[in-house]
C-alpha cells in the first residue's frame, strides 16, 4: 500500500493522531533545549558531517584498517554482501555454538535484514530486550520509530499486552508497574540466553572496536552473561578515530531524546576471556548509494530519529504508514533507494518544509534529497498518473501570468462569497480536515507592487 491510505487510516482516529503528534513534539522540544545548552552545537554538526563525508570517501581504507585492528583484538570479522548473507552468517555462528536462545538489543540493521523471523524459522528463540521493542515484538508488529519503537502504543494497550503475555494485573497501565514486570521477565531471558546480538552505533577504524549506546543497559547485560556476542553493522557505521566519538556522543543522545548522553555508552574491544565476539559488516545496497553523488550523504545517518520527531507528516501519520524499517524523512530516502517501486509514495509524504535538515546532527540535506528522489522516481516512471496530470495542469497555469492572476482573483472571491458546501466537499482535498484560510483583500503581487511604489517615494519614513 502507499503512504496516503495508510496515513488516512492512522488519522481516522483523531485523538490518537493528536496524542502521537504531541508526544513526538515533546521529544523535539527536549532536543531543542539540549542543543541550545551547547554553545558549539553548530560546530559539532559541521564536524560530524565532515567526519562522515571524509570516512565515506576513504571507506575501503577504513574498512581494512578496522578489520586488521579487530582481528588483532581477537574479534571474528565477517563480511555480508546481502541481507540473506548476513542472516546465514549469524545462523552459522549460532549453530556452531548450539545456541537455542538469544537476547537481542536494538538494531535497525537486523530489522532491515528480517533476522528475527529467519532465526525463529530455524528454531532459535529471539527475545528483543529493549522495552519498546519487546512490546512491539509481543504484539507481533514492527517498530514504528527507530529510537522509540512503541511510541504509537497507549499505556492501556501495553497493559493489555503484558496481561496476556507476562501475567500482569488486568487493567493495570501504570508505566512504572509495567516496566517493573518487563524487568523481571527479561532478567530471566538474559540469564537463560546462549548468545547476545547487538547493533553498532559506531565502529572505530583506528582501534578495531565498536560502541553501543543504550539507556536501559539491555545491550550490555545481553552480551556480558553469555559466551557469544554478535554485533551487526552496516559498513557506513565506521568512524576513523577515537576522538571522533566525542563529537558523535555529544550529538547523538541530545538529538535523539534530549538527554546529555545515553546512560550506557559501551566500548567493546575484543571478547571476554574464553568468549567470542563476532562483527558482521553488511553492505546490502550501501556500496550502491556511495556511488550516487545525490544520495551519498544519506549514509551519514547516525539513526537518532530527530528528523522523525520534527517531521509534521511523520508526527501526524505514524511510523507504520511508511511500511519501511526506517520511517520518516531519512527513511523516505533510504527506502526508495532500496526498492523504488515499492516505496515510491514516500518522498511525497513531505511538504519540503526543511525542518528535518535543520535538526539533523550530521547535516544531511534531507529535504533536498527528498526533492531529488521525486525527480528520480519521475525518470523511472514511478509517479502516479493523477499526480503527473495535476502537476502538468498547475504548471500550465503558472506559466501564464494572466491566467494565474485571474484564477487567484477567482479563488479569493470564491472563499469570500461561496457557501460552505460549495467549498468543503469531496472534490476539494484542501478542505479536508482543515479550515481554509481567510481570503486576503489583495494578492501578494499587488501588495508587493504597492510596497515598491511607497518605498521609492523619497519622503516616506518607512524607507
Amino acid at each position: 500500500m502507499s503512504h496516503p491510505p495508510l496515513a488516512a487510516e492512522f488519522t481516522a482516529n483523531r485523538s490518537r493522531a493528536h496524542w502521537h503528534d504531541k508526544a513526538l513534539w515533546f521529544v523535539r522540544e527536549k532536543r531543542d533545549r539540549m542543543a541550545n545548552s551547547v554553545p558549539e552545537w553548530e560546530q559539532l554538526r559541521e564536524h560530524a558531517s565532515a567526519i562522515k563525508m571524509h570516512t565515506v570517501s576513504q571507506l575501503p581504507l577504513y574498512l581494512e584498517q578496522f578489520e586488521r585492528n579487530a582481528l588483532a583484538l581477537g574479534v571474528h570479522v565477517h563480511w555480508a554482501e546481502t541481507a540473506e548473507d548476513h542472516n546465514r552468517i549469524v545462523l552459522e555462528i549460532l549453530q556452531r555454538h548450539s545456541v537455542k536462545r538469544i537476547v537481542k538489543s536494538k538494531s535497525m540493521l537486523t530489522e532491515e535484514c528480517h533476522l528475527n523471523p529467519f532465526l525463529e524459522k530455524n528454531g532459535i528463540e529471539v527475545v528483543d530486550t529493549d522495552l519498546g521493542e519487546r512490546i512491539v515484538q509481543l504484539r507481533n508488529e514492527p517498530p514504528s520509530h527507530i529510537v522509540l519503537p512503541a511510541i504509537h502504543i497507549r499505556k492501556e494497550e501495553v497493559g493489555e499486552c503484558f496481561h496476556e503475555h507476562l501475567g500482569t494485573e488486568k487493567g493495570a497501565s501504570d508505566p512504572a508497574y509495567l516496566t517493573e514486570a518487563a524487568r523481571g521477565h527479561l532478567r530471566q531471558k538474559f540469564c537463560q540466553a546462549d548468545a547476545g546480538i547487538t547493533g553498532v552505533n559506531f565502529a572505530i577504524a583506528e582501534t578495531g572496536g565498536i560502541v553501543v549506546c543504550t539507556n536501559e543497559g539491555n545491550a550490555d547485560l545481553g552480551v556480558s552473561l553469555p559466551k557469544v556476542h554478535i554485533a551487526c553493522m552496516g559498513i557506513e557505521k565506521l568512524i576513523p578515530r577515537v576522538s571522533d566519538l566525542a563529537v558523535f556522543l555529544r550529538l547523538l543522545a541530545r538529538s535523539a531524546t534530549g538527554q546529555p548522553i545515553t546512560t550506557y555508552s559501551s566500548h567493546f574491544h575484543g571478547p571476554r576471556p574464553g568468549c567470542e565476539l563476532h562483527v558482521v559488516l553488511v553492505d546490502d545496497g550501501r556500496s550502491g548509494i556511495i556511488q550516487s553523488s545525490e544520495f551519498r550523504r544519506s549514509l551519514s545517518c547516525i539513526r537518532c530519529g530527530a528528523c522523525m520527531n520534527t517531521c509534521p507528516v511523520y508526527r501526524r501519520s505514524g511510523g507504520h504508514s511508511y511500511e519501511s524499517t526506517v520511517p520518516g524523512p531519512i527513511g523516505s530516502i533510504l527506502a526508495p533507494l532500496k526498492d523504488s517501486e515499492k516505496h515510491s509514495s514516500l518522498p511525497f509524504a513531505c511538504s519540503l518544509c526543511g525542518s528535518c535538515t535543520d535538526v539533523c546532527p550530521v547535516k544531511i540535506d534531507l529535504h533536498h534529497q527528498l526533492l531529488a528522489m521525486r525527480g528520480l522516481l519521475g525518470q523511472r516512471r514511478l509517479i502516479a498518473t493523477s499526480k503527473k496530470l495535476s502537476m502538468k495542469f498547475v504548471a500550465g497555469i503558472m506559466k501564464r501570468t494572466w491566467l494565474f492572476n485571474l484564477l487567484g482573483k477567482f479563488a479569493r472571491l470564491s472563499l469570500r462569497v461561496l457557501p460552505r458546501f460549495a467549498i468543503y466537499h469531496r472534490f476539494n482535498p484542501w478542505g479536508r480536515q482543515r479550515e481554509l484560510p481567510e481570503a486576503p483583500a489583495k494578492s501578494f503581487r499587488q501588495m508587493y507592487a504597492d510596497r515598491k511604489s511607497t518605498a521609492s517615494n523619497p519622503g516616506d519614513k518607512s524607507k
Binding site: 570517501s57 550506557y264 555508552s265 566500548h267
Partner: protein, 207 residues
Amino acid sequence: MSSASKNSAAREAILRRVRAALPQSTPLPELPASGPWQTFEDPTTRFREVLESVGGLMVRVPDVGAADAWLRDFEPWKKSATRLTVIPGLGDSTLDLNSIDDPHALEHVGFAVLKGHFGVAENAAVWVTDADVRHRVLYFIPQHMALAIPASQIVNNMHEAYGRIQVGGYPFSGFISGPSKTADIEQSLVIGAHGARSLVVFLIEEW
C-alpha cells in the same frame, strides 16, 4: 564453498564495489582536546546538577571512611542482602568475586560499589573499565550501584575525556551516566529498566 572462502569472496566484492566510484576525498577535521569546547567555571557543580537531572546522586566526601559511613546509612545498601565492593574500606562484600568464574552467579547482587576513573561535567558520565572488575556484568546486573572517583577527576567535556583514555586497551570500557532508565511506555520516564535502579557517585577528596 567453505565459509572462510565465502567470507573472503564477500570481502573482496564489497571492497571492489565501494572502490568503484569513491567521491573526491575531503579532509578530516582536527579535534583538539583543548577546544574550543564548552567548559564550566565549576565542573563539579555542573556534574552534580546533570547527574541529578538524569536520576543519579553525587556525594562528595573527604575520604573513603566518610564514604563508607554514608553508604552504611543508605537505604538500598541496608536492604541489599548480597553486596559487593572492589574498594577496600568502602562497604563490604557478602561474596568473594575472585571465586566466581561464571558471571551468572552474580545475578542476585543487590548492591555493588565499583571504581570509576573520572567524571564528565557536561553529561555526568563516569568512565569505567573491565580492568577494575573480574566480570564486566557487574556494571549492569546489580540492583543498585555506586561508583567512586577521586574528587579532582572531573573533566569538562567529552573531548577532554577522550583525550585522556586508552580506549583500545580494555575489552570493555565505557561511560555510565545515571541509573538505567526507559521512557518506552508513553514517554513516561521510569528509572530502573534492566540495570541499576539507583546510582550514587562518590567524589572522594583524599584517596
